[in-house]
Amino acid sequence: MSFLKIANIETLYFDRIYALHGLTLDVAEKEIFAVLGPNGAGKTTLLKTVAGLLKDQPKKGIIEFNGRRIHRLAPERISSLGIVYVPEDRGLFRELTVKENLDLGCWGRRTKGIKEDLDFIYELFPILIERTGQQAETLSGGEQQMLAIARAMLRKPKLLMLDEPSLGLAPLLARNVFEALEKISQLGTTILLVEQNAKLALKIANYGYILEAGRIVLKGTSKELMENEDVQELYLGLGQETTTSKGWRLYKKRRRW
């Protein structure tokens, strides 16, 4: 049985526009899954739908978590089941301090164990200790991302969903963040990752999905994906004809998926 099972979900905006078009996806426990795809393909919508942030969505289909149906539950309920979503804008409370942000991550937890978790986080991101009293908005992009992940970890998530963690980060920082994610995964947390930076994502992921126009068009282990020609060309920038021809093909390129 899969850990998170998404079957044939359809999500609409304004009751009219399809964002997800019968999408099916499975996530197994304790692995890192990456969902790749261009802007507007529905990656963010997918995560938001799972997190329950889109009202009355998905319109159709089933989302099961640990064998339990969670679609159309209130986001608070879904969160309390152990699914934590870190949005693209990181969802920090910018006017609150780092400490307060972390405190909010412990919402609903008993005091027991918080100390250890905090220690773990500070070990993972030592910079946060220095920044404890600062307002979140004064942090740099990378620090904000670390804080967001740290806060999510304090909720002891079973499934951690991250939307473009590398967005706007300098490469070095992005790599730091991804290394941290790898560590987190090794400790037993399932991670569902949405990325544009396919290279970085596939490096740490065990499995990958390619999402286009609201559908999964390709899936496989990250190794398979990395070896796929189309993926190489479209997402990894390793295509052959980079700068040569000025002529444009107007025919539709045939794809192997």
Binding site: F14, R16, I17, P38, N39, G40, A41, G141, L167, G168, A170, P171, L172, A174, R175, E212, A213, L234, G237, G239, T242, T243, S245, K246, W248, R249, L250, K252, K253, R255
Partner: protein, 250 residues
């Protein structure tokens, strides 16, 4: 004389330099691509060019005229049109009206005409709009509310709206991001076609190096608010600093 001349502009937000000392010249009927990682100041440059931000220092000349302190609408009147990275359409209007807003500057603004419902002007502009609709293949969506259209169509509408302005300089902020691969090809083809058909100069920001380099006559790379390379696409892509900025140190 270059169509657009940017001299040494700088702008900072809350102490962070978003652009520092950028200079750039754009010749007529050329396509220039601005590349760079997220947050490197590409969009900020566009915002400075269209008067949404006013740079702290420097000069911007369009056809020899200083446009640095002008308001966005005045700049549009001088012939700069743009699209936005996150679509900024008039979501509650239909596609046709969106394009007609683009024609706004070309209307004869006699208040009596609308009041008495004299629509000669309107019909004239409708004809031009129809050409754009044909060009962008929007016929099926003419009367649809923009909010109801798929993302790809919305992108085209935004492009069409900028075209309707008949600008001398067209600024495209990530015109092909978020499109499916087929749409990307089509969009790139259209951008190339715009130059030929409408004789416009195009400045575009793009993430996708592959397409950008195929499209552009020359390329500029930004990194943390600074221009790190300029030249033909080949040159820029081979520039070690660019490679580092994009791919990291390894």
């Amino acid at each position: 004389m270059p169509l657009l001349e940017i001299k040494d502009i700088s702008i900072s937000f809350g102490g962070i330099m978003a652009l520092s000392g950028i200079s750039l010249q754009v010749q007529e009927e050329k396509i220039i691509a601005v590349i760079g990682p997220n947050g490197s100041g590409k969009t900020t440059l566009f915002n400075c060019l269209t008067g949404i931000y006013h740079p702290n220092e420097g000069e911007i000349h369009l056809n020899g005229e200083n446009i640095l302190r002008l308001s966005p609408d005045a700049i549009a009147e001088l012939g700069i049109a743009r699209t936005f990275q996150n679509l900024r359409l008039f979501m509650n209007m239909n596609v046709l009206d969106n394009l007609l807003v683009g024609r706004h500057l070309h209307f004869r603004k006699n208040p009596l005409l609308p009041m008495l419902r004299i629509r000669k002007e309107e019909i004239l502009h409708r004809k031009i709009i129809e050409e754009i609709i044909d060009f962008l293949d929007l016929q099926a969506y003419r009367k649809a509310r923009v909010a109801d259209c798929p993302y790809g169509v919305q992108k085209r509408v935004e492009l069409g709206r900028a075209l309707a302005l008949e600008p001398k300089l067209l600024l495209l902020d990530e015109p092909i991001s978020g499109l499916t691969s087929e749409e990307k090809e089509e969009a790139a083809y259209r951008i190339n076609e715009i130059r030929g058909r409408f004789q416009m100069t195009i400045l575009l920001v793009e993430h996708d190096l592959r397409i950008a380099s195929r499209l552009a006559d020359s390329m500029v790379a930004f990194y943390y608010g600074q221009k790190i390379a300029q030249g033909t696409p080949e040159e820029v892509q081979r520039n070690p600093e660019v490679i580092r900025a994009y791919l990291g140190d390894d």
